[in-house]
């Protein structure tokens, strides 16, 4: 079976610095891959290249049988790749609903005629989207669903993460990239968030997820397979138990190597 996402020899250089160095990563339909590595090892860069924010220096990216190498973020987004960001990027003074709607804009009618003249068409789309957003947020936290029209900035950190994840999910992506969803949260909050994610994954068996995470506990609970980056190179790939035992991974994390 051919993978949903297949990156081969993906390389990203910033001047003299090679942030990604010939990385091969494949992700299958419905698979959850944990992506780990020390600070500055290239995890976020991998996401940024994959979503078109950075133009890779060389390599190949295939997604759902299409060539997505060095495509624009817009094309890649429409092809079905959605993500969250390491540092929250919500419109804090807009409502939760408006924030989540951004994730659905790709499939909505944004035409000026609909906005200005054909208002009934707009209203139909709006009602449908409100229903979807309510159903989606309710899975993560009924409190968000009940307060869909309050500013995103009035919610706690963990709820903002949930809102960001909902924004990524509302467009029905085939691949979801989560960049350190637990950053800045307590253990308890992280545990809750992972419960939500696991529950959600049950309902969407085809969704592929790549999760960047520093907390090994989270990686262990969630991932089918783990990949370790160090200095932009893939140094390990395999199940979590093997990761813990791997010598090279240990040196990468504890220092001492190079």
């Amino acid at each position: 079976m051919s993978a949903l996402l297949a990156c081969n020899g993906l390389t990203m250089r910033f001047g003299g610095l090679t942030a990604l160095d010939g990385v091969d990563i494949a992700v299958g339909k419905g698979e959850t891959v944990g992506l780990v590595g020390p600070n500055g090892s290239g995890k976020t860069t991998f996401f940024n290249v994959l979503t078109g924010l950075y133009k890779p220096s060389s390599g190949a990216v295939r997604f759902a049988e299409a060539d997505l190498f060095a495509r624009s973020p817009q094309e890649i987004g429409r092809a079905g790749v959605a993500r969250t960001f390491q540092r929250s990027r919500l419109m804090l003074d807009q409502t939760v609903f408006d924030n989540i709607a951004v994730g659905a804009l790709g499939r909505l009618d944004l035409g000026l005629m609909t906005a200005l003249v054909r208002r009934s068409r707009f209203r139909r789309q709006l009602s449908a989207l409100v229903e979807q957003a309510t159903a989606l947020t309710r899975r993560f936290n009924p409190q968000i669903a009940a307060n869909l029209f309050r500013p995103a900035g009035s919610f706690t950190m963990i709820d903002r993460r949930r809102i960001e994840i909902c924004r990524a999910l509302i467009g029905a992506p085939r691949l979801l990239l989560l960049d350190e969803p637990s950053a800045g949260m307590t253990h308890e909050e992280t545990r809750q968030l992972m419960d939500d994610l696991l529950a959600f994954r049950e309902e969407m068996p085809d969704l592929a997820i790549v999760l960047v995470e520093h907390e090994m506990d989270v990686i262990r609970r969630i991932s089918d397979r783990c990949i370790v980056l160090n200095f932009g190179k893939k140094i390990f790939e395999g199940p979590f138990d093997a990761l813990i035992a791997d010598r090279e991974v240990q040196t990468a994390y504890l220092g001492g190597g190079e």
Binding site: G52, D109, L110, G111, A115, L116, L148, F149
Partner: protein, 397 residues
């Protein structure tokens, strides 16, 4: 916030109290407009100062007292009542002051500058594209009216062409504006304004430094300058301009509001607040900035055309940088993204200096102080933009 907390109580309110709420809203708007109309009319210094004091006091009450905040929230919750009352009041004021040339001239000026501010709102408040050349696009509209006004083309069509011309001229700016950000994009528009003005000064076809005469607006064969009576009443020929100006503003208002309350409005907010996440979710930054920039300039151009026809002439000085700054001050003072704020700010910036002889000499100093004070104490303006809330729309549909 106060409005959002109020929303559930509004939902559960029964029909009678909703009716009462509408009455409160209508009365509030009527009082404000009546005050504004009186300010336009009176020449008496004591009255002007008393009116201003009353406005400041009302504003402070609306802000500080819970009851005042509740009334403000009601106005947000019943936009239909606000708009209807405003329309009725405009007609009433125009009827009452029908013979006063100068009052009506000011009324029309306020309406047309507010229309231009609506165009700038699309650009700056929605898409985040700076435009420091508002007066230049306004002047483009006036020049189109001057050139085409005598050509036999129906004047309504001339207004449309003026809008298109301003939008097309804006195209010249589009590439550099899209490629640059923030201060640099602002500089591009400043340069454009200066260039346009120099071009107009040396261009003999367009009258050079003297400018051109602009024919009076005529609607279905009726020239506004020849309107001296309606039925049994003597009226100023500025009356039709005041009404047409307010009508134009109402149109611009409807366009801006509908755009704001649509998915296109969400797209614009997304592009303005974070280009990175907007792109990742598939939005084309260039498309939305271009849309807002072109639409905004079109609105400014149409307003400028009617303004030129009202003033009967246009010269290169119409495109001066100072007037562009005045348009921007209207936007900032009123509150970026709130068109009622733009109306209030237009009155403050265009009318009050005319009314208060004492400050006329110090006009510029007072402007500067006012803008600094606003930026310091109320950075989101007199009437900040209200967070868009789709909930009422979703229920109806």
């Amino acid at each position: 916030m106060s409005m959002l907390q109020l929303a559930p109580t509004l939902d559960t309110a029964n029909g009678r109290s909703v009716g009462l709420q509408r009455v409160v809203v209508a009365l509030t708007v009527a009082v404000l407009f009546a005050g504004g109309g009186f300010l336009l009319h009176t020449e008496e210094q004591g009255q002007v100062i008393a009116l201003l004091a009353a406005f400041v006091a009302l504003f402070a009450l609306g802000e500080k007292l819970p009851a005042g905040r509740r009334v403000a929230a009601l106005c947000v919750a019943h936009p239909g009542t606000v708009n209807l009352t405003a329309a009725v009041m405009v007609l009433a004021i125009a009827a009452a002051l029908r013979e006063e040339h100068y009052t009506l001239l000011m009324m029309a000026t306020v309406a047309l500058f507010a229309t231009a501010a609506a165009g700038l709102t699309l650009q700056m408040a929605f898409a985040g594209v700076p435009n420091f050349a508002g007066a230049a696009f306004f002047a483009v509209g006036s020049y189109v009216a001057a050139v085409l006004g005598t050509s036999g083309i129906p004047h309504l069509l001339v207004l449309v062409i003026a809008g298109l011309a301003a939008a097309v001229l804006g195209l010249l700016l589009l590439l550099p504006v899209l490629r640059t950000r923030g201060h640099y994009a602002a500089l591009v528009t400043i340069a454009f304004g200066l260039l346009l003005r120099s071009f107009l000064e040396v261009n003999d076809v367009l009258g050079g430094p003297q400018g051109m005469k602009v024919p009076s607006f005529s609607l279905f064969g009726l020239s506004f300058s020849r309107v001296t009576e309606i039925g049994p009443y003597d009226v100023s020929f500025y009356l039709p301009y005041a009404l047409a100006g307010c009508f134009l503003f109402a149109l611009a208002f409807a366009v801006v509001r509908r755009l704001e309350f649509s998915f296109a409005g969400v797209a614009l907010d997304a592009v303005r607040s974070d280009e990175v996440s907007a792109s990742v979710f598939g939005l084309s930054i260039a498309r939305w900035k271009a849309t807002a920039f072109l639409m905004g300039n079109a609105l400014i151009g149409v307003a400028g055309a009617l303004y030129g026809m009202m003033n009967a002439f246009v010269n290169p000085n119409s495109a001066n940088f100072g007037d562009s700054l005045i348009m921007l001050s209207i936007l900032v003072l009123g509150g970026l993204g709130n068109l009622w704020g733009a109306v209030v700010a237009s009155v403050v910036i265009l009318v009050i200096p005319e009314k208060l002889q004492a400050i006329q000499e110090f006009r510029l100093v007072i402007f500067a102080l006012l803008v600094i004070a606003i930026l310091r104490f109320r950075p989101s303006g007199l009437m900040p933009r209200v967070t868009r809330d789709f909930s009422s729309f979703a229920k109806e549909g």
